[in-house]
Each structure stands twice: as structure tokens, then as C-alpha cells.
């Protein structure tokens, strides 16, 4: 649905996007991730035909963004980061205006507006001036606008920034629902967001793609081993010694804590069952036992820092 090949965008002497290539298949939800200033919004603006690229090609829904700009715009629903709206218009009026621009027949306009208002939970504010709405509602109006013409592709730039936790959850659910019928590309610098909603991630830093893959694949690339945390009651030396003897243990750190010992075990395997058996054999009560999987945040920080080192 989205094909980007060697896209470059320069603003004067600043190269915002430098030879970026990626693709998004039909029905996928892909997260476009990167620190602030990485080139996410610039790439998105090229895809939505706001700015032309300096070089390279991009196509959306099979149409080239430069030579078939109108066809691309007909097939894309775009929610810009700033969620631009006309504050003096009422929600209904705004959606009517946008549906006219989208070429929706006068007879179908009302039902289309009702449909998107229902989907985006803005039915109760449909008659209010947009200037009176909270950020969360405004964001949903923007999203409703993007859905009016039932586009094949949805491009959302930072759709949850500035929302409160409840609103974030609701938006997340909404996006996941939408993915069933549309191809979604969303950009964010909020990791839990992207982790929760996207099937695949493309990470961009300083204008270049630095990583691409599913969240699981990327997490595995952080460190080879994961860690186990356990708290057992007993002498530090005994517990640490006992655990070290288990096979597959790469390192043990033990801290005494009021009669209990908190152990952090570096290991490739899942030794939780072995530790449990150890604790019962030796009569050490156990009050915490969990695996700590490397987080996406670790990966992100590492990859961005790594790219930084490369650059300098």
C-alpha cells in the first residue's frame, strides 16, 4: 500500500530525510518511530503530498505521490500532528465542509457524518464549536475527518500526543479497530503506544532508517540474555551459591534485604521453575519470581545512541 524508495528531502542545507526506504503492506498497522527531529513528519508530509521530495520515489495505494498527487490524496486519510481545525466552526459544519471537499454526494453526507461521528465517539459534541472542545475531542474530530471518505490508507502523525491516559486508551482501541478495514501508518515517539498497537515498527533517526521489524524481533536484538528477579528468604551466600550452581546461569547479583535476599540472575533460559525447585528443596520461602524481558525502550535508546555514535 505504501512504497518508499530512497526518499530524500532537503530543506535548504538541512537534510531532514536521507535515503529512506520502507514499505507498508495492505491491512498492516505500521509504527513509524523516532526521536524528535528524526524526520518522521517530513516523511509523512511527502507521503500525503504536502511537500514534494527532493529525490527518490514514494507511492501510496499504487499512485505516485508526485505525478498522481490527486489520486493519492483521494485515497489517504491524514491526521497531522497539529490537528488543524477551524475553531469557529461547529463540528458538524466542519465535517460537512470536509465531506464536500472529499466529493461525497450531498445525499450521502449526513449518513457519512453520522457514521464517522459514531466511530470516533464525537456524537455528543457534534453541534459544539470546535473552539470549545478539549484536545482529546479535537483529535477525534480530526480523526473523523480522516475517515469520512473511507480511505484505503490512514496516516496518523502522533495521534495520542497531549491526551490524558483514558483518552489514549480509547484512541488506541479505536486505531486497532480501524486497522481491520484500513492500512494504518502511525508515527510516534511514545514507545508504549507503538508497542501496544503496531504489528511492525520502522525506526528512523536523523533522517535514516535504523531498524525495522516486529516489536518482538526488535526486543530480542537488545541483549542476548534476559534477566530473572527473585526474592528468597535465607542467607545471601547460600542462596547466591545455590543459584550459581544451576545450569544456564551467566551471572548472579545478590542483595540482602532484612532477612530476604533479592537476586538478579542473568540467563538465557527460563530458570523460574529451577529456582522454585531450589527454594523448596532448601526450605527458602519465595515471595517474588519474575522474568524481566528486555524492553523496547532499551532497544530504542540503544539504537538511537548507537546511531549517534555512528554519526559522530
Amino acid at each position: 500500500m505504501i512504497e518508499v524508495k530512497n526518499l530524500t528531502k532537503q530543506y535548504g542545507s538541512v537534510c531532514a530525510v536521507n535515503g529512506v526506504s520502507f514499505s507498508v503492506g495492505e491491512g498492516e498497522i505500521v509504527g513509524f518511530l523516532g526521536p524528535n527531529g528524526a524526520g518522521k513528519t517530513t516523511t509523512i508530509r511527502v507521503l500525503t503530498c504536502f511537500h514534494p521530495a527532493t529525490s527518490g520515489t514514494a507511492s501510496v495505494a499504487g499512485f505516485d505521490v508526485f505525478s498522481q498527487s490527486m489520486r493519492v490524496r483521494e485515497n489517504v486519510g491524514y491526521l497531522p500532528e497539529s490537528v488543524p481545525l477551524y475553531l469557529e466552526m461547529r463540528v458538524r459544519e466542519y465535517l460537512q465542509f470536509r465531506s464536500k471537499l472529499r466529493g461525497i454526494d450531498a445525499s450521502k453526507r449526513q449518513s457519512t457524518i453520522d457514521r464517522v461521528a459514531e466511530r470516533c465517539w464525537i456524537k455528543d459534541v457534534i453541534s459544539r464549536p470546535i473552539g470549545q472542545l478539549s484536545k482529546g475531542y479535537r483529535q477525534r474530530v480530526g480523526l473523523a475527518d480522516a475517515l469520512l471518505h473511507n480511505p484505503k490508507v490512514l496516516i496518523l502523525d502522533e495521534p495520542t500526543v497531549g491526551l490524558d491516559p483514558t483518552q489514549i486508551r480509547e484512541t488506541r482501541t479505536l486505531i486497532r479497530d480501524l486497522a481491520a478495514e484500513h492500512t494504518v501508518m502511525l508515527s510516534s515517539h511514545i514507545l508504549p503506544e507503538v508497542e501496544a498497537t503496531c504489528q511492525r515498527l520502522v525506526i528512523i533517526n536523523k533522517g535514516r532508517i535504523v531498524a525495522s521489524g516486529t516489536p518482538d524481533e526488535l526486543r530480542q536484538r537488545v541483549t542476548r540474555s534476559s534477566r530473572l528477579i527473585a526474592e528468597l528468604k535465607g542467607a545471601e551466600k547460600d542462596i547466591a551459591g545455590g543459584i550459581r550452581k544451576l545450569s544456564g546461569v551467566e551471572g548472579v547479583e545478590a542483595v540482602a534485604n532484612n532477612g530476604w535476599t533479592r537476586v538478579t540472575v542473568s540467563t538465557k533460559d527460563d530458570l523460574r521453575e529451577s529456582i522454585y525447585k531450589l527454594s523448596t528443596e532448601n526450605g527458602w520461602p519465595i515471595r517474588e519470581l519474575r522474568g524481566e524481558v528486555a524492553s523496547l525502550e532499551d532497544f530504542f535508546v540503544k539504537i538511537v545512541a548507537g546511531a549517534g555514535e555512528h554519526a559522530s
Binding site: 504536502f50 490524496r73 459544519e93 464536500k100 471537499l101
Partner: protein, 239 residues
Amino acid sequence: MRNTVAIMQRELLSLFFSPIGYIVIAGFLLLTGIIVLVTDSFGPGKPATLRAVFDFTPYVLTIIIPAITMRAISEEYRNGTIESLMTAPVSDSELVLGKFAAAVVFYAIMLGATLVYLVMMAMFGNPDVGASLSSYLGLFLLGVAFLGVGIFTSSLTSNQIVAWIVGCVPLMLFVWFAGFIVGRVHGGLRSVLQRVNVMRHLDQFNRGLVTTESVVFLVGTAVLFVFLAIKVVESRRWR
């Protein structure tokens, strides 16, 4: 075409919603009303003509018309809504034309409100209706030309005040100082300037002469500046 109409409708809604719209109309009607008083057009024994008003109005328009158009495009830049317009299946020319059309309709309504003076005159006297209508046509076309300039200056900047001033100043040069400038030059330059002398064209309309030259000049000015505005908006994509 459909997009142009949609944009025009939205813009009219916005013009009549925002205080600027009402203040501009009120200001214009107040000024023309004062002109009627000051020129004693309804004084006893005076000829039944609004000529004095028609002569004075262009001076007012040089300030009022850029105020109508100042927020047309600059507001979209300032608001960020230019992004949602440029990524919708709307061409840049449809966008500018829609804004221009809305400004023309707004101006027509504003100008039309002054017809009340003509009606009043007809109640008390016997005005030359043909000449009066010709004057109105002249004022309307002059306004259209000025609106073209105003839309152009609005497309240049995201700051409304700058758009207003940059629109105001050249228009004032052509109206307030027209006679002065033309009087100071000689020969070839003078005849060129006389052709673009807006006040001379208006004078003809006021005499009841609707000449092709004047109509083409005024409409052509509007077309030129609207075209330039479209180009400026298009160029925004490349920056």
C-alpha cells in the same frame, strides 16, 4: 468547481462569523454615511446625484478592501489548516479562487447596502439612474480589482496585519496620489501611467461611460493578481 464552491461557502461563513466581517461592513457604511452628510448630497436645491459619494468611496476602499482579504490565506497559514487543505483532493487554484469568490460576494453585499441612498434619492428627487448604476458598476469592478490585490498580499504572509498594510499601500498610491504622480511625469511615461490610472477609469464610469478599456483593465488586474496568488500558494509546497 465543486471544491471552489465549498471553499467559498466556508469562507463566507467565516467572514460573517468573525468580528472583522461586521466591523468592516459597519465601518464602510459609517464612512459612506458620513460622506453623504459632509457633501450635503441631500441638501435642498442640490442636484439629485450621489456623485460626491462615488468620487470619495474609492479612497475608503483602499483601506477597507485589504481588510476584507487580509485573513483569507494568511489565516490558513497561521492556523496550520493549510496543511489539511493541501493534502485534500483540492487544487491550489480551487483554494485561491474559492477565497477570492467569497471576498467578492462579501464586497457585493457591502456595496449593495449603500443602494439605500440611491433609493432615498429617488424618493425625493429624480436622479440619473443610468449614470448611478454605471457608477456602481465602476465601484464594483474597482473593488474586484482591489480584492485581487488583497488576496495576493494575503497569500504572501501568515501575518494578517502585514497582509493588510502591504495591500493598502500600493492601492493608496494608485488612488490617493494618482493625480499627483501623473502630474509630475511627462511624455511616454505619462501616457503609460494614464492607462493604469484607476481614477481616470472610474471617472468614465461616473459619467455613465462603460468602456471596454476600463472593464478589461479592472477585471484584468483582478485576474493577474489572483493568478499570482495561486502561484505563491503553489510555491509554498516547495519551501
